[in-house]
């Protein structure tokens, strides 16, 4: 299990155990954490699973694929540490990961 902390835009924190193999998006959705809509269920087709990866974790979470980059490019309030959370696979190495949610996904 990996402990992941999701921080809503208003500062509300949720720390949950996520099974390795799931995506960071699935970790939020399965635990009913608000702030990640994930309309396409992880198909990298909707950009409604946008998160900001805590600086300390940017290396471990890897970099975005070209497809993900170009989806993110049109999301709102994109920052250098923006990712689509459905494209980050959870492994034991992400134990302790912290991600923040944008104000809105639409």
């Amino acid at each position: 299990m990996a402990k992941i902390t999701y921080i809503e835009h208003d500062g509300t924190e949720h720390t949950v155990d996520v099974k390795p193999g799931l995506s960071v998006m699935e970790g939020a959705v399965k635990n009913n954490i608000p702030g990640i809509d994930a309309d396409c269920g992880g198909a990298c087709a909707c950009a409604t699973c946008h998160v900001y990866v805590d600086q300390a974790w940017r290396d471990k979470t890897g970099s975005a694929s070209a497809m993900e980059e170009s989806m993110l490019d049109f999301a709102e309030n994109v920052e250098p540490n923006s990712r689509l959370s459905c494209q980050i696979k959870v492994g034991e190495d992400l134990d302790g990961l912290v991600v923040r949610m944008p104000e809105s996904q639409h």
Binding site: V29, P34, C40, G41, A43, A47, M67, S70, D73
Partner: protein, 407 residues
């Protein structure tokens, strides 16, 4: 308001999401979720894609874990079929005779796979793809060397064909129209997908009617075409569209027009009854018309509309209808619907498997079909919603970025 009892019939993508949105929007009253299938609400899109190819497990299909429903005070009743609605008494009757009273009823019964009324349709190995159980049967039937006949070249059929090829099956797609995706996509896209599938070993029989499924010992051995030829196969997937499950509503005297007629809040003419998802015939504000959509974004949008109306929240902003499909390494994203388009513009080169087709009426963008082209999809979706004028020559010009076009 919050002490009302909400009953949702149909525990699919729309019904399950409506229950979750109700709680997210602060609705604290009782929620009963009635579903015919044996498992809690799940996502269907992977059934023809990642799940079929073995890239996603059953756990990842579920919308929410089973505990979610009890934890949020929802009474989830699986294997339960609603058979009638008594609107006067505000009661739903289940197949086992139980009655469930409601203050607010949400119909989220979805659609079912259309059947072909031809000889042999009940042979073993004649399959359809709507539920997780259907998908299990299909998965068991495809593998290296197995021969799959897909009847119907729509999205579900083509996705199953691509997944079948990925698993080493031989695939023949039989389509009644002269091109695949005839009802749902433009000709450029149809031609592109046919070529892409052909290059990966799929055989097409276009303009071809199906007479019968031929069997031996109760099992399918082939598909008989109208011209008399027999396509030998080990299984046939019938993917010829879906029919809305609107009989409950019809029997209860609610207006149906190929789906249950609802307003912008997803409410029927009966103020106590809503209808959402594949079963609903709904207004499309961006296009000033009524339509029935079959897509996850549509199910989610209407689930939000109904939940917001019930929880006394402001209605969500209308969305551009959209859809996606994954086949091989292709990501198709479609936004909008090209009703009454008078101009078609292709941006990019289909030969490079990265292009978009824009449909305009005058200078207004109505729809975009994008293959491996997220910027075109994302910018197009925005432009459609904004109803802004677009310059066709900019759309055509790859040296003008989509950011610039949308600016």
């Amino acid at each position: 308001m919050s002490e009302q009892r909400v009953v949702i019939v149909g525990a699919g993508h729309a019904g399950g999401s409506a229950a979750a949105f109700l709680r997210q929007y602060g609705f604290a009253g009782p929620i009963v979720l009635i579903g015919e299938e044996p498992i809690p609400p799940y996502q269907r899109p992977p059934l023809s894609k990642a799940w079929l190819k073995g890239e996603a497990d059953a756990d990842s299909l579920a919308l929410k874990p089973l505990e979610f429903y009890a934890e949020h005070g929802m009474d989830l009743r699986l294997n339960a079929v609603a058979v009638s609605i008594n609107r006067g008494e505000q009661v739903v009757t289940l197949a086992d005779g139980q009655t469930v009273p409601y203050d607010v009823l949400i119909l989220a019964t979805g659609a079912r796979a259309r059947k072909l009324p031809i000889p042999g349709a009940d042979l073993a190995g004649v399959l359809e793809l709507r539920t997780a159980a259907d998908a299990e049967a299909l998965k068991a039937a495809i593998g290296p060397g197995k021969r799959l006949a897909v009847i119907g070249g729509g999205y579900v059929g083509l996705e199953a064909a691509a997944s079948g090829r990925a698993l080493g099956a031989e695939v023949v797609v039989v389509e009644r129209e002269p091109r695949v995706l005839a009802r749902v996509a433009c000709e450029t896209l149809s031609t592109f997908f046919q070529d892409y599938h052909r290059d990966r070993g799929v055989v097409f029989e276009l303009d071809a009617g199906v007479e019968a499924f031929e069997g031996e010992g109760g099992r399918i051995v082939g598909v008989r075409l109208s011209d008399g030829r027999l396509i030998a196969c080990d299984a046939a997937l019938v993917g010829v569209g879906a029919t809305p499950n609107d009989e409950l509503a019809k029997d209860a005297g609610l207006e149906c027009a190929g789906g249950v007629v609802v307003d912008e809040d997803a409410r029927t003419a009966d103020p106590h009854i809503f209808a959402i998802g594949d079963v609903a015939h709904r207004p499309l504000p961006l296009y000033d018309r009524m339509f029935r959509l079959e897509s996850v974004p549509n199910a989610l949008e209407q689930a939000k509309q109904a939940a917001a109306a019930i929880a006394g929240r402001p209605a969500p902003a209308p969305e551009t209808p959209w859809f996606w499909s994954d086949q091989y390494d292709l990501k198709l994203q479609i936004a909008g619907i090209p009703f009454e388009a008078d101009q078609v513009i292709v941006r990019g080169d289909p030969a490079e498997a990265r292009f978009a087709v824009f449909h305009l009426k005058g200078d207004r963008l109505l729809a975009v079909e994008a293959v491996n082209a997220p910027p075109e999809f994302m910018a197009g979706k925005m432009l459609i919603a904004q109803r802004k004028a677009v310059a066709p020559e900019k759309l055509r010009d790859m040296s003008v970025s989509m950011k610039n076009v949308a600016a």
